[in-house]
């Protein structure tokens, strides 16, 4: 027993030496997740910013040339019904096509010939939208927009057809009816555009801390911890030459003792670094926490990190090929991060997934961290994390012993 | 066959080899001794065209060492490196076939197997990492002989192996020299081996330890 501890402590010292020797890699390891998350954040903000700075340009091509379409296009171009993020202009088809090629338009919509007539007669019509390859996302937004417009038109059309039907039945002649329908068309169109009144919209802001910014900062911190653990655990990995392995065996050193030493060192370093990072976040975001809260968060991070490292260790014991091992570790890490809800809140997950989530320790850990930091809970549940740790530890020990025996 | 005239090698101000001149004839086996760092390996590497001399002229079978004629010269040279330079994960057969494919000479599998059997290497189908040190050394030598070199340069080819394997290798090399007229330069720290195998012994370096040792034992030593 004493031997085991002395071996492990020896390896810990070794690991620390290794870190000291390669100190120049430390900033890289520490910054890596932060840089990646920063990169994601930049891309994210760029994704949403152009809507404000740079409206989506849409061309309208009117091949129908009816009063109705002219009315629609004027209404759409002159007023701002669709908000400031969209800019519409009426164009000839070839010009629209040129501007699309020049990347000036995100998409253009073509109202085909006889569009209105077909609508009145109840014939099928297709609105085609030609998108810009270079701005595919914006083109999809346009498509969504037009879908919502057509949904309104569809209802309006049914109503217009109803009116046409009754006007006919009431003995109105064609010319009069046509005029009447146009009036109604206008009226229904304006009616559609003013739909905003239907809904009384209210925004709930529960606490000052509940903004998406807070949520994602905590999430970034949580993901960073996991990535750091992965990086440090593998940074400390050393390929032993066969000669050295033999010598180790002679000294009675076991593979699992080396792994455990790496677990301890990685855990220790990442706990310190994440604590520092957390203090930094707290300075900036200023959420109110009590001393007990720090303890609770510390325990949660400690337990979930330990479980995670044990899983990495189990993979290392099972998978001998370095390539495959890294692949397995990366996949498991990816799943744990995705399922934790740090990227997309778990409420949006499919129900089938949500049932499994109660068994995923990162989900559990991230949930309680949110509860404590964002929802001011004074309580946290550790049972699941403790059980997970127990299971991982037992699996690790059993596998290691089994492997030693097979080798011997 | 091999003429070395006024060979110099230095790295900057550090002189390693100075004014080395000797000739080697067909079937000669020459031992090369000297303490660590005396320049034995450097000399062997220069003769093997792996390094350039700073000054001096080298000729092998009438061809002068020059970068244009290197590939012709290399065809005639067999080099046995000090390290065991074989694929550890392949079998003896696969190693032999591997290097045969890249070699200048085409050989059948049978010929390759016979080459191994000649030096009592009989584990044809076994992966190299399961072989003993002696077997690995034999394979290390066998691979260097695939293209039937005229000049064989051996850098401590038997280091760390048992006496029996050493003797098997030595008797094979002697055969090679007498029957096929292969000339050899043989680096070793084992004086018994040197005296048993070599016709002449060259000594390089400032220290005269090996000189005295071999002279006392009745072996003629030429200082280079």
């Amino acid at each position: 027993m004493i031997h085991i501890f002395s071996h492990i402590s020896l390896f810990i010292k070794n690991n620390v030496k290794q870190i000291k020797r390669k100190w120049y890699l430390l900033p890289l390891l520490l910054l890596f997740p932060i840089i990646l998350i920063g990169l994601i954040a930049i891309i994210f903000s760029a994704l949403f910013q152009p809507e404000k700075a740079d409206p989506i340009h849409i061309g309208l091509v009117d091949l129908d040339q009816s009063k109705e379409i002219q009315m629609i296009t004027t209404a759409l171009t002159e007023t701002n019904h669709l908000g400031s993020m969209v800019k519409l202009s009426v164009l000839k088809e070839h010009i629209a096509s040129e501007q699309l090629d020049d990347n000036q338009l995100s998409a253009y919509v073509v109202f085909p010939k006889d569009f209105t007539n077909h609508l009145y007669q109840g014939k099928s019509v297709k609105l085609s939208i030609v998108g810009n390859n270079q701005r595919a996302n914006e083109a999809y937004i346009v498509k969504e927009l037009m879908d919502s417009v057509t949904r309104h038109i569809n209802t309006s059309q049914a109503n217009i057809l109803l009116l046409n039907d009754y006007a006919d039945r009431f003995g109105m002649d064609y010319g009069e009816r046509r005029e009447y329908l146009f009036e109604q068309f206008k009226s229904f169109f304006l009616f559609s555009l003013s739909k905003d009144k239907l809904m009384d919209e209210e925004k709930l802001v529960n606490e000052a801390t509940a903004s998406p910014f807070h949520y994602y900062t905590i999430a970034a911190w949580f993901v960073s911890i996991i990535v750091w653990l992965l990086l440090f655990f593998n940074f400390l990995y050393k390929e032993d030459v066969v000669r050295i392995k033999k010598r180790m065996m002679l000294y009675g050193v076991k593979e699992w003792q080396q792994i455990l030493a790496r677990v301890i060192v990685s855990l220790f370093i990442v706990m310190i670094v994440s604590a520092l990072f957390f203090i930094g976040i707290q300075r900036v975001l200023a959420f109110e926490l009590y001393v007990e809260d720090y303890f609770r968060i510390g325990i949660i991070i400690f337990l979930s990190s330990l479980s995670y490292l044990m899983i990495l260790s189990v993979i290392e014991v099972i998978v001998t090929s370095q390539k495959l091992r890294l692949l397995c570790q990366v996949i498991v890490t990816g799943l744990l991060i995705v399922l934790s809800g740090a990227l997309l809140p778990v409420i949006y997950f499919p129900l089938a997934f949500q049932d499994v989530l109660s068994y995923v320790f990162t989900t559990e850990a991230f949930y309680w961290i949110q509860e404590i930091i964002l929802n001011d809970r004074f309580y946290a549940e550790y049972n699941m994390l403790l059980i997970m740790n127990g299971i991982c530890l037992i699996v690790f020990i059993v596998l290691s012993l089994w492997k030693e025996r097979v080798r011997a | 066959m091999l003429q070395v005239e006024a060979l110099h090698k230095s790295y900057g101000n550090h002189v390693i080899l100075e004014d080395i001149t000797f000739t080697l004839e067909k079937g000669d086996i020459v031992g090369l001794v000297g303490e660590n760092g005396a320049g034995k390996s450097t000399l062997l590497h220069i003769l093997a065209t792996l390094q350039k001399p700073s000054k001096g002229k080298l000729t092998l079978n009438g061809m002068t060492y020059h970068w244009k004629s290197l590939s012709h010269i290399r065809r005639q040279i067999g080099f046995v490196p000090q390290e065991i330079a074989i694929w550890d994960h392949l079998t003896v057969e696969e190693n032999m076939v591997f290097f045969e494919k890249l070699s200048w000479k085409n050989k059948s599998k049978e010929e390759l197997q016979n080459l191994c059997l000649d030096m009592k290497l009989n584990r044809w189908k076994e992966p190299v990492h399961t072989l003993s040190g002696g077997m690995k050394r034999k394979l290390n030598l066998a691979i260097s002989l695939i293209h039937e070199p005229k000049l064989l340069l051996l850098d401590e080819p038997t280091v760390g192996i048992d006496l029996k394997s050493k003797q098997e290798i030595a008797s094979y090399l002697k055969d090679l020299a007498t029957k096929r007229g292969v000339a050899m330069i043989y680096i070793s720290h084992d004086m018994n081996e040197i005296m048993n195998l070599c016709d002449q012994v060259f000594c390089i370096g400032d220290d005269s330890f090996y000189d005295r040792l071999l002279t006392q034992a009745g072996q003629e030593v030429i200082r280079l």
């Binding site: 891309i43 085609s128 030609v130 701005r135 309104h152 109604q184 009384d200 903004s211 809140p345 | 290197l70």
Partner: protein
């Protein structure tokens, strides 16, 4: 060259399973990711709370319509509970169908029929509220039409037995019969990225490119394993110099990749119905050539396989992000066009053969090959 292939076969025989695994890795990963992604997308629902304060048929119909929407999961709750859950972010948004909903519609009044609550982390509020509004709008529109018929009858002095409910039914019938207006989105030209709407959450070729990036890097570990100084000395006394041994083996690997790539292109045509074209094949080859050269050069610089693997994974991870697989890059590319050069997948996804990286790697390779080391290089 035939000799090189023979020696390569000897090496491959030893790790044939591993080789096969990594060669098929891109296809398998693509299939798994696309399948799982689609299941996830199909089953991904936005949780919203509905508070039904009006007990009428029209209100219930509205609730049914919302409930039947595929991307929504509804929870019927009372207002207090719903708002509490919204505060805790257990719901995306809450919609209250106000008391008197039908009454107001019948009277043609449209103000504040629904009260909508969103929180500041409601990710999907806009599309959901749009959708609900369009349902309400349908109800309101029909009612408006019913009144228009009444007005018309009065205007024309026609005697007509006006009944609101009958006209609503009639309007619904017409609409059901004639859901006529459709939209269709097309793109001019033929880049590879044709995201057929709603077909796949992830584009197969994009995922393939990333998986191939990783597997190619990992497969080039032979360069490190065979970069053994002692053995390389032997090559000097063979027909093949160390450098040409590496370069020719690289050709063998690239040829192997190309073969698998062609099979992949056919497989994707059948599995994902991805169009097969010459442009596609040319851009696949250009892309795979580039990453192979890059992997080769990287492996030449590194001594330890584990370090190389770690770098391979990190590079892949960065590529996943900068290629826009998770988050689309459209906005960013417009502003910083040079990002295009940093994204190894850029040329491939645009359906082009040449990426600037390919040029850079070829130049480095030539420089490396041309550099003489004492006697070594000549052969």
């Amino acid at each position: 060259m035939i000799n090189i292939i023979q020696t390569r076969l000897i090496q491959w025989k030893k790790h044939s399973l591993q080789l096969l695994f990594w060669l098929l890795f891109p296809i398998v990963v693509t299939w798994i990711v696309v399948t799982v992604g689609n299941t996830f997308q199909d089953d991904m629902k936005i949780p919203i709370g509905i508070v039904l304060q009006d007990d009428t048929i029209l209100a219930k119909d509205l609730y049914e319509s919302i409930h039947a929407t595929p991307f929504i999961r509804t929870y019927t709750l009372d207002e207090r509970e719903a708002l509490h859950k919204l505060e805790k972010h257990e719901l995306d948004s809450v919609f209250v169908i106000q008391e008197g909903y039908e009454e107001h519609i019948r009277q043609g009044s449209r103000n504040a029929l629904i009260t909508a609550y969103e929180s500041d982390v409601s990710l999907a509020y806009t599309p959901v509220s749009e959708m609900i509004m369009s349902y309400v709008q349908q109800d309101a529109g029909r009612s408006k039409a019913a009144y228009a018929v009444k007005e018309l009858a009065e205007q024309l002095h026609v005697h007509f037995d006006w009944n609101w409910d009958d006209l609503i039914v009639r309007s619904k019938e017409i609409e059901k019969k004639q859901d006529l207006l459709q939209t269709r989105l097309t793109f001019p030209g033929n880049g590879i990225v044709h995201r057929d709407e709603g077909k796949n959450l992830f584009q197969p070729w994009h995922i393939w490119a990333l998986a191939a990036f990783l597997s190619t890097l990992l497969l080039f570990d032979w360069v490190i394993k065979e970069n053994n100084p002692a053995i390389l000395k032997r090559f000097v006394f063979t027909n093949v110099s160390p450098k040409s041994y590496f370069v020719r083996n690289m050709y063998v690997y690239i040829a192997l990749f190309f073969t698998i790539d062609l099979l992949t292109a056919f497989a994707f045509k059948y599995i994902f119905d991805e169009p097969l074209s010459l442009t596609l094949i040319v851009s696949i080859l250009g892309y795979h050539l580039m990453i192979s050269l890059g992997a080769f050069l990287l492996a030449l610089m590194i001594r330890k396989t584990f370090v190389y693997y770690a770098i391979a994974f990190i590079l892949t991870f960065i590529s996943v992000i900068v290629s826009g697989a998770i988050i689309p890059l459209d906005g960013l590319l417009g502003r910083y066009p040079w990002l295009h050069f940093l994204n190894p997948l850029a040329a491939f996804l645009d359906g082009d053969f040449f990426h600037i990286g390919l040029g850079v790697f070829i130049v480095i390779l030539l420089l490396w090959y041309g550099r003489k080391e004492e006697y070594h290089a000549a052969s």
